[in-house]
Amino acid sequence: MPDEKKIVFEGFYRDYAGKLYGVAFRMVNDRQDAMDIVQESFIRAYKNWEKFRNESAVSTWLYRITLNLSYEFLKKRSKDGTLPIEKDFEDRRLNVGEKDIINADIADSIKKEIDNLTSKQKTVFILKCYEELTYEEIARITKSRVGTVKATYFQVLQKIRKNLGGRKNGM
């Protein structure tokens, strides 16, 4: 690969490694698996680097491959019957606690609600809520219609609100 392309690749790696880790971690709830997923995503991107034409194509592709690998991990895990290690969950509690101890319990309840979402719902929620992508960008990544993404996101929020009991639960 020519040096200038390598520099562009490294730039992408710096910009997206952390983001993709966040997506993968929220999908699979396991630090090591998330790390493996991100590394594999970038290996595949590196191998195909010369095919990419623009930044938007690369980021879409990176999100897509990360999500696909996450689905594979989840599928394999449900087949093997293994669970993610508890350490990640404790780390998360610590981070929540550092920021706002009062809200930790509600955040935990929301976390459980997110974990109970289907892969498709979880994907849309993660990309919208955490990655702050537009409905259109999410539709491109998930290869679905903007209307579908919009409807899914609404359903997720409605479901979480309903399951948390709305105002009754101190929301």
Binding site: R14, Y21, F42, I43, N95, K128, Y135, F154, Q158, R167
Partner: protein, 161 residues
């Protein structure tokens, strides 16, 4: 009861996915609807608390090590593969000229004759030949009918030569 038509708009409003005029319409509605204002706050709370669920991203040093491993992987050499694929395709095309295409039976003589039992058709291409040979031992009248049908079908032609 929350105004149904506004519920979805409230989610899109928080998502920053509404046009200027839609945003204004939502704001105007919120001024006069306390239920929708409460609902908007509930959704806003859910999103804010969801965002508090942090993921601790590994330090850059960890990523740097991984980057070295990634760069050790050999990229696909498309520009070297392409000529190879073209060459193989050309060779395959050239070799096709030397391969004998099986005769599909066109132009071969189909002999139609009557013996004491029925009709005999020979030298017809497969599968017609197989099918037609089976009518050899049927009675003359039915055979003639079958022959008429066969002769009317465009599946094969009986070459007079």
């Amino acid at each position: 009861m929350v105004c149904k038509r506004y519920e979805r708009l409230l989610v899109d409003y928080l998502a920053g996915e509404l046009s200027q005029s839609e945003q204004e319409a939502v704001r105007d509605h919120l001024k006069e609807c306390s239920k929708c204002t409460d609902l908007l706050e509930e959704y806003r709370d859910i999103l804010e608390k969801s965002r508090q669920i942090d993921v601790s991203i590994p330090e850059w040093q960890v990523w740097e090590k991984k980057l070295a491993e990634i760069k050790a992987v050999q990229p696909y050499r498309i520009h070297l593969l392409k000529p190879a694929v073209v060459m193989i395709s050309l060779l395959l095309l050239i070799s096709l000229f030397f391969v004998r295409v099986p005769n599909n039976g066109k132009g071969k003589v189909a002999k139609v004759s009557k013996n004491g039992y029925g009709i005999v058709l020979t030298k017809l291409p497969y599968p017609e030949k197989t099918i037609l040979e089976n009518i050899e031992y049927i009675d003359e009248e039915s055979a003639s009918k079958i022959l008429d049908v066969v002769l009317d079908t465009p599946v094969f032609t009986i070459d007079e030569n």
